[in-house]
Subunit: 232 residues, 2 copies
């Protein structure tokens, strides 16, 4: 799971990042939640310095918001941030599938199919953690196969942001992106149909975004604090 790998320093930092990310997407850590360094250090059996590294990395990825002298919170992206994130993903991922259409080899297709198979298995088992992981990693896999290191790096940042956004704004019907839409994308890539592939990706992302309720008044947990303490 090369999910968090800003710098493959020591795995401790990465593990902390991943654990926090997981807690966020599973909604056990809610946006606005305070992240005390010492607590985290104790929880993960690490030193505070390590925790700090993890937090700065997570801030880079947009998962936590880091205000000087006041510590770290889980970030609270607004509606605009959400739209920006999806808009950027659209831009990037469209390009990626086009690239894959041209240069994907049989082994790439096989890798994608294999991934989808694992997604299906996870759905079968109702393994929610695996579902979340795999559905995100599918997009990262596309980036890696497209042989686009830079875009891959950018996309990682964006998927992390959108996963937070999804956790934050998703409606009750907890639908992650299912394997079927992924399948459609892969099929188009295999058929070398650039238009269809781009369209499938666009549709997939639009579907993801539409599953959120971005237009309503903010329902977040921390609305109270934000509402009552405007100066902040």
């Amino acid at each position: 799971m090369p999910w968090f790998s800003t710098t493959p320093k020591h795995d401790v930092v990465r593990r902390i990042c991943e654990r926090i990310w997981l807690a966020v997407v599973q909604r056990s850590l809610r946006p606005g939640a305070r992240l005390k360094e010492e607590d985290l250090a104790e929880i993960f059996g690490a030193t505070r310095a390590r925790v700090r590294q993890a937090l700065t990395a997570l801030e880079q990825d947009g998962l936590v918001s880091l205000t000087p002298n006041r510590g770290a919170c889980i970030a609270e992206p607004g509606v605009e941030d959400a739209q920006d994130a999806f808009s950027a993903r659209l831009c990037i991922e469209e390009r990626l599938v086009l690239r894959l259409c041209r240069q994907a080899g049989p082994e790439d297709i096989a890798a994608l199919r294999d991934h989808i198979a694992r997604e299906r298995a996870a759905h079968q088992d109702a393994d929610s953690e695996a579902i979340i992981r795999l559905s995100g990693e599918f997009h990262m896999l596309i980036a890696r196969l497209a042989d686009a290191e830079l875009l891959s790096k950018i996309l990682r940042m964006l998927t992390i942001r959108t996963s937070l956004i999804t956790a934050m704004y998703q409606t009750q019907a907890t639908q992650t992106c299912g394997p079927d839409e992924h399948e459609r994308i892969v099929a188009a890539i295999e058929a070398r149909d650039e238009a269809a592939a781009a369209e499938a990706m666009r549709h997939h992302l639009a579907h993801l975004e539409s599953a959120l309720r971005l237009d309503e008044a903010r329902p977040p947990v921390t609305a109270l604090r934000e509402a009552l303490l405007p100066p902040r």
Copy 2:
């Protein structure tokens, strides 16, 4: 100069980042150059911890390459990295100008024109540092005016990368992007001509990329080391 502003912590780190960046684009620090922490600390009158923060930030931006237990070097992006970077910029900046075409107010146009005026002044004075800074900041200004925080962040990373690439691969004719092409872009935005604006931006970036010699065998300074020490 909100050039380096990953986190507005203390300005010391930012100043270090900026100084190193400047040295790179001015070609006084060459790709592959070793960056010893202690030396940097002494040079900038900072502690090693601060230097370390700066280096990790610069690694995120792709300016330095940070290998565990072996320290930091100025990064040496390959030809593929260069193409990726320009490709990504194209993707992002096209979207940005389209957005600006729709939502740019008169004050935005004025800000852009003002910026170009400063570019012209810098050219007049042959102030190479100002020229480099301003020509990069023009693109960042577009991102900021387009009110796209996320894309702005991404673009910052990309401009840093491309500035390194430019310094690395530019031909003798040391041409940075001149004010005239910027002027064309602004004119198109002002006229609300989306197609023309996108085209102007595409042309501008293509021009920038074409001014490099990416197709030849690597001429870099460190070719020797790379050639003789393949295992590394």
